[in-house]
């Protein structure tokens, strides 16, 4: 029963990728096929999860990724359509980087690197502190910190790099830091 459901989930995962391939290859968007493909992937994940839990989900995702890679290999061997080539834009030597640009780059690096990491750690610790009062199990709270930092930091870095204004970048650091300070200062960080 469990094996059969897992196999069905894996087959559905591979089949759904093929359906998406079919759908996205059409000149016009095909909502029906799109929905079928995505629903198939969701169903495959569900079946694999029902059969073997997280292990089953991991296997189904590997199968879907493998199927997509096989389709890519096939695409790689296809002869490319003739396309117009456009002449390269005339080369004009760009101005050399000046000192101010380097300073700006270094500041951005410091803000999005170590400082953003510190804010991510503070937010994760604050979320744990709040969760412990909910309450959640101590193990869950502690693992929450270990899992949130790798997620919050890159997302914060990305969000900061999406804006070019320094004030906005600083706000992205200070607002969550202030938000994290409240539970940390009021509730403390006790075990």
């Amino acid at each position: 029963m469990s094996d059969g459901t897992l196999w069905l989930g894996c087959a559905l995962a591979a089949g759904s990728v093929a359906v998406l391939r079919l759908s996205w290859d059409r000149p016009r968007r095909d909502r029906g096929l799109n929905a079928l493909g995505w629903a198939g992937l969701a169903g495959a994940t569900l079946l694999a999860g029902l059969a073997e839990g997280a292990w089953g989900v991991a296997i189904a995702i590997l199968v879907a990724t493998g199927a997509a890679c096989l389709l890519l290999v096939h695409a790689g061997f296809e002869k490319p359509h003739a396309t117009r080539r456009f002449a390269l834009a005339p080369r004009v030597a760009a101005p050399a980087a000046h000192a101010g640009r380097w300073t700006r780059g270094l500041t951005t690096f410091v803000l999005t690197g170590p400082l953003a990491l510190a804010v991510a750690v503070a937010v994760a610790l604050a979320m744990r502190t709040a969760a412990m009062r909910w309450p959640v199990a101590e193990a869950d709270g502690n693992v929450m910190v270990l899992a949130l930092v790798p997620l919050l930091w890159p997302l914060l870095t990305f969000a900061m790099l999406m804006t070019e204004r320094r004030r906005a970048q600083l706000a992205m650091l200070l607002v969550p830091l202030a938000g994290a300070a409240a539970p940390l200062l009021l509730l403390g960080g006790s075990a």
């Binding site: 089953g56 610790l125 199990a137 075990a191």
Partner: protein, 438 residues
């Protein structure tokens, strides 16, 4: 996707993607390549020492004899704090005993057969785990790069306005920069779930010194072991008074009787030969992502309970799944092969990403031929250097300076590539496709 994201958002996404990628590219590539190789950690250990005794299983009494032999071989020396018995598993069908000072293979009768010689596998693992740097610095650095893979994944999605429409478009036979761009985008899109899983789990492992120590500092008076105790369990009270080394056979008999579906992968003696000693078993659960469950036994072999990695709090199960999910050792060789293929794909994504940026710079009138050549040196040099260390291991032996060989070959490859490409700086670049213009 294009309807969801404005042109300006896409432009900023490309800029963010480029900025993160450029800062990280070389070491990220090294981590991806070494990570793809280290999936075969157990298989490499077997390759390194082909004549080590192998067995499908070992009798509990033979394990007792082996433990006694190893303890006897260390008589007169400071007692080991831990004694690990690696039990034969499918991936590594060997019985190996490791103490604080030595590691030996034992045969099926429990006699010491030979010292363990797996310096190359350990070198490769250390290269991936911590770039051969001291653990605190190396693991933290690798963890940071893992986090940047997450940022690159997110920014890459934002930077790609036709992510679904082009998902299967791979113009690999075009001999121009479009092929490079397609390789980068297509492999990145389809390996995104894998990349995120690898990156998040790797970052959790790598950033422990940041996140875990911060947690310890804020809630456990700086005691990181206490911070992990609710998850992985705590060490027992130490009592250095001498005591007979516990027998392992009753423990293994208990496991076989009460947990027949669990495969014992490790037996660990904590503080063996002291009154504070206790026995811990790591049992692998079939079709689970958790690396195993800890089963605790008193020195007389009586069962005391489990930690809860397999059936305890969600956080425990989650934390215990991180290692297997990262290294791909949860489904035998098929899953390992998938991890290697996707790992190589991720390495190609990192390598082509930098080439795309360099090509774009050239089109903007800022060609960087030496950097371009240097990047070719890195791209080819890293796998070549790993291969060189493996050849050194197989041809010269276990004691070779693999770290020095690796970095020497890598740097030589970069230097050679730069030296050879120097005259190319004046070469005219091929025309570009307008897809690049955005």
């Amino acid at each position: 996707m294009s309807a969801l994201l404005s042109k300006d958002t896409v432009r900023r996404g490309v800029a963010a993607h480029s900025a993160i990628g450029l800062v990280c590219c070389a070491l990220l590539y090294l981590i991806c390549v070494s990570g793809s190789a280290i999936v075969l950690y157990e298989e490499f250990q077997r390759l390194e020492q082909l004549d080590a005794p192998e067995m499908e299983s070992i009798a509990p009494q033979a394990v007792d004899r082996a433990v006694a032999a190893v303890v006897a071989s260390e008589a007169g020396e400071p007692p080991t704090t831990h004694l690990y018995v690696h039990m034969p598993t499918e991936a590594l069908p060997r019985t190996t005993i490791t103490t604080d000072t030595q590691a030996v293979h034992v045969d099926a009768d429990g006699a010491i057969a030979a010292p363990e010689e797996n310096a190359w596998s350990e070198f490769l693992l250390a290269l991936h785990y911590r770039l051969n740097l001291p653990p605190v610095w190396g693991m933290t650095l690798v963890g940071m790069f893992g986090a940047m893979i997450v940022a690159l994944g997110v920014s890459g999605v934002v930077a790609h306005p036709r992510i679904f429409r082009d998902a299967f478009r791979l113009r690999a036979r075009r001999k121009d920069e479009v092929a490079t761009l397609d390789w980068h985008n297509r492999l990145a899109v389809w390996t995104l779930p894998f990349a995120l899983a690898i990156a998040l789990t790797g970052t959790m492992i790598g950033l422990f010194y940041v996140a875990g120590f911060s947690l310890a500092a804020s809630a456990y008076d700086g005691d990181s072991e206490a911070a992990l105790a609710p998850v992985f369990g705590a060490e027992g009270e130490a009592d250095p008074a001498p005591a007979p080394v516990p027998r392992v056979a009753p423990v293994l008999a208990h496991m076989a009787r009460d947990y027949p579906a669990v495969r014992v992968s490790y037996v660990i003696l904590h503080d063996p030969g002291t009154r504070g000693q206790h026995v811990q078993v790591i049992g692998e659960h079939h079709r689970r992502l958790v690396f195993g469950e800890y089963y605790h036994f008193a020195p007389d072999g009586s069962f005391e309970g489990t930690t809860g990695l397999a059936d305890g709090a969600m956080g425990q199960q989650f934390a215990a799944s991180i290692y297997n999910l990262h290294f791909g050792n949860y489904g035998g060789l098929p899953v390992k092969i998938a991890y290697i293929v996707f790992g190589v794909a991720l390495s190609v994504v990192v390598a082509t990403g930098t080439f795309i940026w360099l090509d774009k710079q050239a089109r903007k009138g800022r060609p960087r031929p030496l950097v371009h050549a240097g990047w070719w040196g890195v791209t080819l040099g890293v796998p070549l250097a790993i291969l060189a260390t493996l050849l050194a291991r197989l041809a010269l032996g276990n004691g070779e300076p693999f770290v020095a060989i690796f970095w020497a070959v890598t740097l030589a490859a970069v230097g050679l590539a730069i030296a050879q490409r120097r005259p190319w700086a004046k070469r005219r670049l091929p025309p570009a496709n307008p897809e690049y213009a955005r």
